[in-house]
């Protein structure tokens, strides 16, 4: 199991389109993936779960992956957050 803390830096936080990109990315991996924020843990492969996390800009969340391809999933997931979900701004 891997864990990494990350700060959300895109303007709108985990809104629908950003959540969709995250879920689409994770669909390609076998491992389980979770986001943890303020003590709540949600399945990162569920768009509803990700949207309900309500983590806005500036909030620090924990990414967690667990399974065969956990390392690659973690790296790509972290990269997506760092690229601000390709939102350009």
């Amino acid at each position: 199991m891997l864990e990494r803390d990350i700060t959300i830096s895109n303007k709108l936080g985990l809104h629908a389109r950003a959540s969709a990109k995250l879920v689409q990315l994770l669909q390609g991996f076998k491992c389980n993936a979770f986001l943890v924020y303020r003590g709540r843990e949600i399945n990162a492969k569920s768009i509803m779960g990700v949207m309900m996390l309500a983590a806005g800009i500036g909030s620090t969340i924990t990414l967690r992956t667990d399974g065969d391809d956990e390392e690659r999933a973690m790296n790509e997931m972290a990269a997506l957050f760092e690229r601000k979900f390709d939102e350009g701004a």
């Binding site: 629908a16 969709a20 689409q24 779960g49 309900m52 309500a54 806005g56 990269a79 997506l80």
Partner: protein
Amino acid sequence: MALGRARLVQPSQPNVDMRPLPHAEVEGEVARLNVALTAARDELHQLRGKLHGALAREVGEFIDAHSLMLEDPELTTGLYDLVRKGHYRASAALQMQRDRLAAAFDALDDPYLRSRREDIDHVIGRVQAVLARDTTPAERQIASRVGSVLVGDSVAPAELAHLTEIGVLGVITTGGSALSHSAILARSMRLPMVVGAHEALKHLSDDDLVLVDGSHGEVIVHPTAQDLARYRQYQREQARGAEALLRLKHAPTQTADGMEIRLYANAEMAADIVQARALGAVGVGLYRTEFLFLQRRELPDEEEQFTAYRDVVLGMGGLPVTIRTLDLGADKADSTGLTLSREPNPALGVRGIRLSMAHRGLFTTQLRAILRAANFGRVRIMVPMVTTCEEVVETRALIDACARELRSSGHEITDHFEFGAMIEVPAAAIALPALIRHLDFIAIGTNDLTQYTLAVDRGNDALASLYDPLHPAVLKLLAQTIATAHRSRKQVTLCGEMAGEPRYTALLLALGLTSFSMHPTSLLEVRQELAKCDRGSLRRQGSGLLRAQTRKGIQRILERMQG
């Protein structure tokens, strides 16, 4: 413009039947729910396929999000439980699930949660609509929508396509802006829509006759005889316009003074090829290959690429097909792990030819596939994001090496392919006299050329007013690029959005352009526009074009050229 009976859609008033289901009907209701969820997903999927260009990216992301929501067990499991265990009808289960999720969002401390509630409403509303459709009273309701103008608070982008299918003629919303996704989509679908009509729900009642003028943002309630005459005039013009366009399908493309102009199609999907041929394109001016590489975990091998390219070449039946090599960068989501995801500035990073050069194996695989496809028709190879002579010379050498290798392993490879480059970075436009000596043709990509010349990210809404392909600097680069190509006797095609916009046709012609490449849906309109243009008078009217200093000045000249 559309004339119809007003049909008011009050927010959140689904036809919810809260009576419990008899035990025997539970599994039937589960099946109904299942069918409705699948149908709603299919609708979104189909709609996604209808989008192209910038719409595909922007609206597409919304549709992806909504599709994922419909597939999410977080949403669906609860629905099935409500029907199976709670004996609720499907519509009631949807309504309760919506309320539950909305309450969860309300409990969150987030300024943007409202937009998320809207997403939930759109998704649930879509399934409710499907459910309502398979009941008889609802069918009557839909029938009554034919010839109607929908009046409501907002309409989801994904909803619009469905509305036109059931015969809705126009849309009025109390909220929204002309730049909203729905408004942009309505424009591309030619569905008259007026947004931000705050008082519409107050002033309109069901069955009121309304005239919706989308191009002027005007709603006329109870139109007068004079208004109706204006509408009939508009209808006649539209009908004449549509007829004239259809007649143009097989007409030669030429200006009023008889100069022949080449119109190519931009293509990506098989449907684009079919349409390009049906509408008389003289070839494919830009065949994008990115779709082969996106949304997958393994890179496409030579065989797969070869098959895709060959099919396009065969589809065009001997007309030239310009295949652009991979134009990926960190700004395009790619799941193959190919692009560098940590670039701070992807637009200025490893993209286009730079990415291909950095991954030689990938590049040669693509070049080999293209060369093999070239045996089946006329192929032109084009590289994107070029800035230096070295890139061009090296690529050319690589192509020749690939051809030699293929031949020595027994493939028959034609010598008849042309090699060109996209001119989309100011450096390439300025250094063109040197570059072009190594090229057979060039294609101007105005979208990127504008973005790079003006240092304006075209995806950034805050800079929308600065993104202007008519900026004097962009026009100068365009004119210079076209002139250099003509002097070198090399073909120059313009394949950005500008090429497909009839309002720019006269301008581009005045700059000396004789070869355009555009989305197939624009072919007829541009052909029609060209037929109106006389190059002699355009030269006179446009003489001050490159001296104009301001946007206003350029706009004035443009208006003069358009008569």
